[in-house]
């Protein structure tokens, strides 16, 4: 077995090395920088429990007497807290690392859910057509006409109401994944459907059908691979969107609780202190959020330019 797979891997690797993708990446400084920053951010977020000076979720480590300390370059700071502390006395650096982790988990989780829902619905709608298509696309239409953020806010408020504030806090991460996932699936569905419609009547699909393959096999094994590049491009943008959506929900108090803050809820809790001069509680997590979203968007832009897929407009 190994003897057969190794050359295949090697050939894939060499194929990748000679690909246009890598070629253009090597020539694009912005894309390289973005990737480096992105990987660095993901790495520190994933490794937060080992890197962070303290565990912001462990209340025993928090001392209210060291609250609202400024970052190191401002007078009155404490070297133990390089970027200051928040109103409860949490180390901002640790809290930001953990917060970025939460934001990334929700961002990727929500996009995975969107992709699963959107791709399956898109495939179904495009391949089966007829009533299924009409129903799913009408649903997508209505949802898109409401704007995804609005849907997320309303669904967020409803979910929070149904579960009650207490239960919501306990399961905030999976619930937020669910809310953002449900709000944004139409983007995928439309794109996939458009690709499927384009692919459906191509010869290889007809050939597969003549050979007696099942619809499911045709959809997943034959059509889906050909729609991968638009899905890939959308996904980058959607991760950025999902992170922003989570931050927006948290900022409105419909997201992560303050005891388990994401970047969005950190910004929210710091906002109260902006007027009284403690800007770092809100602006430093804000900066991290912007950088994170920016590099993802830049990578998405680069991917779109390179892959140049047919995307559904509007």
């Amino acid at each position: 077995m190994t003897t057969t797979t190794t050359p295949q891997v090697a050939s894939r690797w060499s194929r990748f090395r000679s690909s246009y993708l890598l070629y253009s990446f090597k020539r694009d400084l912005v894309a390289q920088l973005s990737l480096v920053v992105f990987i660095a951010l993901v790495a520190v977020a994933v490794l937060a429990p080992w890197l962070a000076p303290m565990n912001p979720y462990d209340l025993a480590q928090i001392d209210i007497m060291s609250s609202e300390l400024p970052p190191f370059w401002i007078e009155g700071s404490d070297p133990a807290y390089p970027v200051g502390t928040d109103a409860q006395g949490r180390d901002m650096l640790s809290t930001i690392l953990y917060g970025a982790r939460v934001s990334l988990i929700i961002g990727f989780g929500a996009v995975a859910l969107q992709a699963i829902l959107g791709v399956s619905f898109g495939l179904l709608a495009g391949y089966l057509g007829g009533r299924v298509d009409a129903f799913l696309m009408r649903l997508a239409d209505i949802q898109l006409s409401f704007s995804t953020l609005m849907v997320a806010i309303v669904v967020g408020a409803l979910v929070k109401a149904i579960f009650g504030g207490a239960t919501f806090s306990a399961y905030a991460v999976p619930l937020l994944v669910l809310i953002i996932g449900l709000a944004e699936w139409p983007q995928y569905a439309r794109t996939v459907r458009a690709s499927v419609l384009a692919e459906r009547h191509k010869e290889y699909v007809d050939a597969a059908r003549v050979m007696g393959f099942t619809s499911r096999r045709i959809m997943f094994r034959h059509i889906l691979p050909n729609t991968l590049s638009p899905i890939f491009v959308i996904s980058t943008v959607q991760v950025a969107n999902a992170i922003i959506a989570e931050a927006a929900l948290s900022f409105l108090g419909l997201g992560m609780p303050e005891t388990q803050p994401s970047l969005g809820s950190l910004i929210k809790s710091g906002f109260d202190y902006l007027q009284s001069g403690s800007w770092w509680i809100t602006l430093i997590p804000g900066l991290v959020l912007v950088v994170l979203v920016l590099v993802i968007n830049l990578l998405g832009d680069w991917l779109r330019d390179v892959l140049n897929p047919r995307l559904y407009k509007g």
Binding site: S147, G164, A247, A248, F251, L274, W279, L289, G314
Partner: protein, 348 residues
């Protein structure tokens, strides 16, 4: 045409029906409105009487039918927190939101068209690259963060002197990054009453200053999208055969750009614009929260926090209506601009 409108009307009613049923189904979870109405030492027996009087103990179906019957007569009930008909409460908050959306739309249109066209005509100019760079940063900053930064910069002010102040260039650079603050960042100030519940911020210079920061932050999220869209569409049109043909015929570049190319660019932009007006309404919830702009978004958030179910339902239904209307209008305009689209209600 009429069939199309009827279909859309049905669409709207369906959306509003679904919203009302969902909102009604979860109202128990939103909290107890009685708690908001009575003093803390009122005994449970009194609360029960009040609950009975307000019909909160009736079965779900009866409560819903009562609501639906009244709603058909445009009576959506009383807001618990304002103690007024919800329609009145919303009408009072509507002008603030509409003015914000209007000024934002104005800003977007005024800036995105020239910038988008310019960066399509001169894609390699440094100014175009600058605009594209700024626009991707703009997309990446959440609207509430833009708002917070604007408050820090222009309402609170920043004094920062990282450069040596005793040198001329240092002082100049320090001045450049130091901001005065003082811009109004909270509420609407004193809008000038026009008629009824409508008071406007457009009638006085002072009123306009209150609009500046909220408008800029609300526009910050949409402006880049439109610039990029206009640029992309324009680039595509410029490469099309008929533009090449027109150029070959010797028609002046200006005429080509602004008459032929721009006209064709605007079609998808209008479609997108309609959808985005809806998105704008969603973003007002965030902007209004940060700036305490007394519009519908802020009111909605307060209603959620204080479990004012009738107000929440009315808001959702009215917003649903706004979405359906704007989408219908967009389709109508689209049909006028591009007569090949048939208004049959089927996806084009």
């Amino acid at each position: 045409m009429i069939a199309f409108l009827i279909k859309r009307l049905f669409h709207a009613l369906l959306v509003m029906f679904i919203i009302s049923v969902i909102a009604f189904a979860i109202q128990d979870n939103l909290g107890d409105p009685i708690q908001q109405m009575v003093g803390q030492s009122v005994p449970e027996s009194e609360r029960e009487i009040l609950r009975e009087q307000l019909g909160l103990n009736d079965p779900f179906l009866i409560q819903y039918l009562r609501f639906a019957g009244n709603a058909l007569q445009l009576d959506f009930g009383y807001s618990y927190i304002f103690n007024q008909p919800t329609t009145e409460v919303i009408l009072r908050h509507l002008p603030a939101t509409l003015e914000l959306v209007f000024s934002t739309t104005l800003l977007i249109v005024l800036l995105s068209v020239p910038i988008g066209v310019y960066s399509a005509i001169r894609p390699r100019a440094w100014l175009s690259r600058f605009f594209m760079g700024v626009s991707i940063i703009g997309i990446s900053i959440p609207v509430f963060l833009t708002a917070i930064m604007l408050i820090q910069l222009f309402a609170i002010g920043v004094s920062w002197s990282p450069f040596p102040a005793d040198t001329g260039w240092g002082a100049w650079l320090n001045d450049l990054i130091t901001t005065e603050g003082g811009m109004p960042a909270y509420g609407r100030g004193d809008p000038v009453p026009v008629f009824g519940t409508w008071a406007t911020n457009f009638a006085s210079l002072e009123g306009l200053t209150y609009l500046v920061l909220p408008t800029v932050s609300l526009a910050s999220i949409m402006l880049p999208l439109f610039i990029r869209l206009i640029r992309a569409e324009m680039l595509e049109v410029l490469q099309s055969e008929y533009v090449k043909f027109a150029r070959a015929k010797g028609i002046s570049l200006r005429r080509i750009y602004f008459l032929h190319a721009l006209k064709n660019t605007m079609l998808p932009v209008i479609t997108m614009g309609g959808v985005q007006i809806g998105t704008l309404v969603a973003y007002t919830i965030l902007t209004e929260t940060v700036f305490q702009w007394p519009g519908m978004g802020l009111m909605f958030l307060n209603a959620i926090q204080r479990s004012d179910v009738p107000l929440i339902i009315t808001y959702l239904m009215i917003v649903g209506l706004i979405f359906v209307i704007t989408n219908t209008l967009v389709d109508l305009i689209y049909g006028l601009v591009n007569p090949t689209v048939k208004l049959t209600g089927k996806p084009a």
